[in-house]
Subunit: 502 residues, 2 copies
């Protein structure tokens, strides 16, 4: 690619190669990168990994918007370059090092990060490395397929390195809506009243004197891979749409509330469910990550507006999106994650929020992050931002995992990310429980009867009844045996009662 | 008292006695009462109890703003009149029946209740019983010492019964700021930009045709009793003020953020700490319940503004407040709890939030509600509204309870109300830990070393090290023995290692 997308000509002399640019990154550098499932830089991470492989010993603190790809978290973790990493990540090599304590990691709500960086809580912003598709005539940045924390990183960083990418067309310009709120005590309301409202500028303002290097890149993000929804995902999606329709028809829920759906196959399947549904139309999405299903819904005329912080598309959907960008751009807004996930806005809009659990307990507490209580999976991401502030919050999971050897419904979750106070509706392929007007004891009976897999119901029911008899109370628990299912799995690799046991 | 405070004369003919008025309340009635630690009705509950004592068998569903007093929750629980109770309560007799499953109870965030009632989630609002100090010329209500959910209850109820009380003077008029937001998807920003902003009307609008009875009352609320702060409370308060001063001086925290402090002696002591502090001045409080300490701070010229949903004063402070009402009224605003506890506003203002824990675990998760995992104490109240949305959130507790037989710092809390993601700073009289830039493993080491009582540090440290060795992971836990301290207490009545044990 050429330099035609550097429309601010004084910056032309900053074009250089990755090796030269990456010299700004040394041992101890706080490195703030763009990227929120998509839109992360690739050339600088590759160069840093190359230096490590050549024997240079150094460590950086790596701060992104959320997860990146193998091209960032994967190679930097494997080359032992990462001292600290914040926030959410989903790379296997990085996860293993975090769980061994070799990479320091803290799991924050995504909505609160930009403000923490502006307050200096994460240390000095030494270098920002951001992917962009253009630099405007005024020297401002047009980001690529995500916004995340990039506006704040660009504003706060001492040095800025830009990876100018041709993997997305410069015609993306106009899809972004960049707004950095003032911080308290001087903050004003975030003026979003409807999901599609634009409140900022279509570019990231940038002090061009801090741009130390521009790299020309033809590297693409690793694309998302979506599987056709399986029966479990379809059943979960169907129940949610039926339930919401029923609530609207009964007059208990106002029509017109926007939807949020988490990342992954189940989430994609829920939105896919709208395709063959006649009740819902003129949908608004106020979400975090927009996926393939959004394009399908737009094509069918089902979606009035889709707001998020990133567009994460499969390879095929990506081509389709670029081919008819002008049409999709009218419907899609990409925002900073502190706006897409803003508790204030989510609460005001009354978002119908759907997120995925690792495990859910009989009283409705949810574990989103820690396998068997100790091992970090990915992180809480934006699920807390949405669940806590939603108009109606759904937590979904298949009732079992790993060939039924794990029950997603357990007596007590081994880690709590979302308490009973944040979770309205629980859905598995087995059934749906609306906890809003149930006592904890009623919740336990309903979740065991409706959401747990039939194979696991007897042991859950027996536990609940024993705890009730032994300790009573508002949420009966027997702390002596409460993790018996987890412990059995840790010992035998299976939560089921072994055959022959009474 | 006379009827001079019924300034809307057509309502004069609704003045009646409690027995007549209470006939509107029958078996199955959904009863929505005013009251938020203060300002609850007294005559109607007494009459209902009398009917029960005379042998009438009936049950009501009782919905308040938050806790009331012995005169409501106490007598109605003891006479077995309550089928459902929502939300927060703090009465001993009621607590016992809730824990036996004899009263149905669900614990919600206080900020979200009014909207639930408007949506019909709690069933039809049959009768509202509200305490007031006056009815205006236009037929609107001036509530007494709290607002809570009263504006919504008055708007939604089929029938309204007013207890016109002379226990507070009609000159309270003007202290309240009543604003009911539209519900999503039509909600607009709540236009509070500073703690003292008034955005509504000084009265509760009321359809006078639904007023079925007015009772003249001289009954007072049971007054709060505050103890002089003990050494533990003083130490906790001191550390918080020192910490915040330090953060402001380092430039990590902006000055001028408003404060919230929970209910009770420790909270009162923290605010009392400002009295002898020279660093803080022009304080703003954006809180839920204002207590005695607020009057002291106003008298000293330390407070610019105090916002809350209720004024809960000791007998002495109450007299003082009424005597110079004109002066205090300039500084104090009483709001609906959906506004005093609004996540949107709390987040915008960047409130410094201090709440009290029952127990805190080594990774910073907090139990506010359930003793030994099963027994409900009072409820989450507004602590979740504030902790989740605060600019900086403090969770405080004495390090031990019951003559040191209980450690407030445990390996894993037996119930989670506030996850690690909501808790920034943990404070006991032993020390303070700022978790914001620590990994969970670092948090565990710091909490054990600084917040736990020295007597409990060895067993906590040994547990942590064993779990780390055995399971590793991001938050090392051994699910087999994680509740060993709770279990020891359940067996022996003491969490300490018995003497002679190795």
């Amino acid at each position: 690619m050429g330099t035609e997308n550097i429309r601010y000509r004084p910056l032309l002399d900053r074009v250089t190669d990755a090796r030269t640019a990456a010299r700004h990154i040394q041992h101890g550098t706080n490195l703030f990168i763009s990227g929120f499932t998509a839109g992360y830089p690739k050339l600088i991470p590759r160069e840093l990994a190359r230096r490590a492989q050549e024997g240079e010993r150094f460590k950086i603190n790596l701060f992104a918007g959320a997860s990146t790809g193998e091209q960032v978290d994967g190679i930097l973790a494997r080359t032992d370059l990462v001292h600290w990493r914040r926030p959410y990540m989903s790379d296997r090599a990085m996860r293993e090092k975090i769980n061994r304590g070799e990479i320091l990691y803290k799991d924050d709500h995504l909505s609160s990060l930009s403000a923490q960086v502006r307050a200096g809580d994460w240390g000095n912003a030494d270098v920002a490395v951001v992917e962009a598709v253009a630099i405007t005539e005024k020297g401002h940045l047009i980001p690529s397929m995500s916004v995340g924390n990039t506006p704040t990183y660009v504003r706060e960083a001492d040095k800025i390195i830009i990876e100018l990418s041709n993997s997305a067309p410069p015609e993306l310009e106009g899809i972004h809506d960049i707004f950095i709120p003032e911080d308290p005590p001087y903050r004003m309301p975030i003026p979003i009243y409807r999901a599609a409202d634009r409140i900022g500028k279509p570019f990231i303002e940038m002090d061009t004197s801090r741009v130390v290097a521009i790299l020309l890149s033809d590297q693409e993000d690793t694309c998302a891979i979506f599987h056709d929804p399986d029966e479990v995902a379809l059943l979960i999606g169907e129940q949610i749409l039926d339930f919401v329709q029923h609530e609207i028809e009964r007059g208990r829920l106002r029509p017109g509330l926007p939807w949020q759906s988490g990342v992954g196959d189940v989430a994609n399947a829920v939105l896919g469910g709208f395709l063959e549904n006649d009740f819902f139309h003129n949908l608004e999405l106020y979400s975090e990550v927009l996926q393939d299903s959004v394009l399908d819904l737009i094509d069918l005329g089902k979606v009035r507006a889709g707001s998020g912080s990133a567009l994460t598309l499969s390879h095929k959907a990506r081509r389709r999106f670029f081919n008819e960008l002008y049409r999709y751009k009218e419907k899609i807004v990409l925002r900073p994650v502190e706006i897409s996930n803003s508790p204030e806005v989510i609460n005001r809009l009354g978002v119908l929020s759907i997120n995925t659990a690792l495990e859910i307990d009989i009283y409705g507490h949810v574990n989103s992050t820690h396998v068997m209580g100790s091992q970090m999976m990915n992180g809480i991401g934006g699920s807390g931002d949405f669940m806590r502030n939603a108009g109606l919050s759904f937590m979904v999971t298949p009732s079992t995992a790993r060939n039924s050897s794990i029950s997603a419904i357990v007596p007590m979750v081994s880690h709590v990310d979302h308490s009973e106070h944040s979770v309205d509706i629980i859905v598995t392929e087995q059934g749906l429980v609306d906890t809003r007007s149930l006592t904890p004891r009623q919740v336990a009976e309903a979740i065991i009867a409706k959401c747990a897999h039939p194979e696991y119901r007897p042991q859950l029911r027996e536990y609940y009844e024993r705890a009730l008899k032994k300790h009573g109370g508002h949420e009966p628990h027997d702390l002596e045996e409460v993790f018996f299912m987890h412990r059995r799995f840790q010992t035998t690799g299976d939560m089921r009662v072994p055959p022959g046991t009474v």
